[in-house]
Amino acid sequence: MRRRDLISGSAFLVLAILLFFQAKKLTLWGELGPAEGFFPMGLSLVFAGLSVLILIQALLKPVEAGERVGIIDLNRKKFFAYVGLFFGFGILFPIVGYTLILAAFLVIILRWVEKQSWKITILVTILLIGGSNLLFVGILKISMPEGLLSSAFSLWP
């Protein structure tokens, strides 16, 4: 944990310095008393102080033999596939539309990332698309982006 504390402490210190300079641009004290910069400035200073304490504590810790260096220790490929797909979902969601993006997302995750059979992939995808449309759109009345599917239907004579 020593190495990880050093990394996180340093990252927090950089963030605290960045926040300090942002807070410095704001008014700290007005005619009536504390202004909009008072609390953020205080927070950035406390944050910097705590980051320094994390660094000191990490430096005083003895070096552990065999301490893991990496952050993602186990299945990196799967982890990055999930992160990529999640960001992809968020970005493409309004363009492609809910139903199509959900189908693509589930097929990729279940079939290629989780290595499920085609039978399970198709079954879960159909159930989840149907169930989520019924629950979110039908019952909870959430208006989902229709995207490409809506454009395709608008071209239908």
Binding site: R4, D5, S8, F12, L19, Q22, A23, L26, W29, L32, G33, P34, A35, E36, G37, F38, F39, P40, L43, S44, V46, F47, L50, I54, Q57, L60, I71, I72, D73, L74, N75, R76, K78, F79, A81, Y82, V83, F86, F87, F89, G90, I91, F93, P94, L102, F105, L106, I109, L110, V113, E114, Q116, I120, L128, S132, F136, L140, K141, I142, M144
Partner: protein, 497 residues
């Protein structure tokens, strides 16, 4: 009081509220059974979906998840020695040993009855204590509120985590996140870095879903949370009703656990987890046969299971009477109230007695439903463990996506949620607790407002906080909870040379 309770039952027994209560407690039990997905993640997932609901129904459902989890966690603790939730950790010790001796039914039965008694007396405690506490809270000024929030946050970081330093850092980071957007008094942009996306601040739903839901899915994806062996273990449940001797042995622990759990639940950072551990420690200490603890004694199940449920009820007191959440779940419940334009606090009893008493009485009904659900449906709940994580993870992710999107009908919130999911994952890896961050995110803006108001009233004098007795006492609590770990650390460094 009786009139208020009758009003509450009238509201909570309406068909819609009863239905949402049932949905909440069932979901809570399911979540409690599944190791991994916790109540915070589930409430965060469902929070945006309650935006279209009536406030009472929304809070009834979300509260049902909170207390339902404690029941569900017991099932896996006793049957497969895996606590579904942290509050059921201690139940594994004697509950699983009882199951190995063929007494799983008695363990689950006494846990269900103990939980029911714990919650019932907890709710009676809320009904009795909330009105006088709300009246007391009306005498609080800005200085008292600011000091109370400081004391609450420092106590939470002191009591609920292995590293106080890391928890404090997370609390400060949470308050920084709470500052993003427009200043609540002057409307000036803060920490937006010139981007329009951050102008409205960060919404609690994508933040909470990212930190708890997406982070959990990523940890499962990485293979950090294992499901191996869960489904292979055979489960035999017979005689769910405890016998006369079981009742005789359990009545004392249940009686002691009720007040212990309830008062610990009121404290910041207390709640269900600490209540269950302290109840177990207490029972072991006062027992004539402490050597039996750990070998399958029913006292080791009855006490902690009662305490964690009365602790859950106790945690509602600061939320409902002061408007201040002192754990992450009540912080999310506060968000649910505020989204609907209702501010819990001392005035809720006067302005919205229907909501207050409706929610309180629904807990009583919810606990009765849990008792009915738990005993006959244990076999069904245990089958939830058979759903592979490879199917469960995408399902949780989809609910997160829809939940984040539905906040503002904006896909940017989905990206923000995924970003905080990665942050939450890294926090787990670096052993930083997300709970103080979310709690401080909710309390931060309130603290800033009270702090600035108090300083304006006092012409900028900090001494004002120490001249008022309640405020001074609360700041002393904050100081002690910060100084104690620092003192211990310095002493350890000195000892080790």
């Amino acid at each position: 009081m009786l009139d208020n309770l009758l009003l509450g039952f009238q509201i909570s027994l309406s068909f819609a509220n009863l239905f949402y209560c049932l949905v909440g407690v069932t979901l809570g039990t399911v979540v409690g059974v599944m190791p991994g997905l916790g109540p915070a993640a589930t409430i965060a997932l469902l929070l945006p979906l309650t935006f279209n609901m009536n406030v009472t129904a929304a809070v009834i459902m979300l509260a049902g998840i909170y207390y339902g989890v404690a029941y569900g966690g017991t099932i896996t603790s006793v049957l497969v020695n895996i606590p579904g939730e942290a509050c059921s950790d201690v139940t594994c010790i004697d509950g699983y040993q009882m199951a190995r001796k063929g007494r799983a039914g008695a363990a689950l039965g006494i846990a269900a009855f103990g939980s029911f008694f714990g919650s019932t007396f907890g709710i009676i405690g809320i009904s009795l204590l909330a009105p006088p506490l709300a009246s007391l809270a009306l005498t609080f000024g800005a200085a008292e509120y600011a000091s109370l929030m400081i004391a609450g946050m420092t106590l939470v970081t002191y009591l609920s985590s292995k590293s106080v330093l890391k928890s404090l850092t997370m609390a400060v980071l949470g308050m920084v996140l709470g500052c993003i957007g427009l200043d609540p008094i002057h409307g000036t942009e803060r920490f937006t870095f010139g981007t329009l996306v951050l102008l409205d601040g960060i919404n609690i739903a994508p933040l909470a879903m990212g930190l708890f839901g997406i982070a959990e899915v990523l940890q499962i994806a990485e293979g950090f949370v294992k499901q191996d062996g869960l489904v292979q273990k055979s489960v035999k449940i017979r005689n769910l009703l405890p016998n006369r001797q079981d009742w005789k042995d359990s009545i004392g622990p249940i009686g002691r656990a009720i007040p212990l759990g309830f008062f610990l639940g009121i404290l910041p950072g207390g709640g269900a987890v600490m209540s269950s551990f302290l109840s177990y420690a207490l029972e072991k200490r006062i027992s004539k046969h402490p050597e039996r603890f750990g070998t399958g004694t029913i006292e080791g199940v009855a006490g902690p299971e009662t305490a964690n449920n009365s602790g859950t009820a106790g945690a509602f007191i600061p939320l409902l009477t002061l408007g201040l959440p002192f754990n992450v779940i009540t912080a999310l419940l506060l968000a649910a109230f505020m989204v609907h334009g209702v501010s819990p606090g001392p005035l809720i009893l006067r302005k919205h007695p229907d909501i207050f008493w409706g929610v309180v009485t629904s807990m009583y009904i919810g606990n009765f439903l849990l008792l009915l659900l738990n005993i006959p449906l244990i076999g069904l709940f245990i089958n939830i463990l058979r759903i592979p994580y490879s199917i469960l993870s995408p399902l949780v992710a989809v609910v997160c996506f829809v939940g984040a999107f539905s906040v503002n009908n904006n896909a940017t919130d989905v990206v923000v949620m995924v970003f905080f999911g990665v942050v939450g994952y890294l926090m787990r890896k670096f052993e930083y607790d997300a709970a103080p961050l979310l709690l401080a995110y909710v309390l931060g803006p309130m603290l800033e407002r009270s702090l600035r108001q108090a300083l304006i009233i006092s012409d900028g004098s900090v001494a004002f906080f120490f001249q008022r007795p309640i405020s001074a006492a609360l700041l002393a609590v904050a100081f002690i909870s910060l100084a104690t770990p620092l003192w211990k650390w310095v002493a350890n460094q000195y000892k080790s040379g």
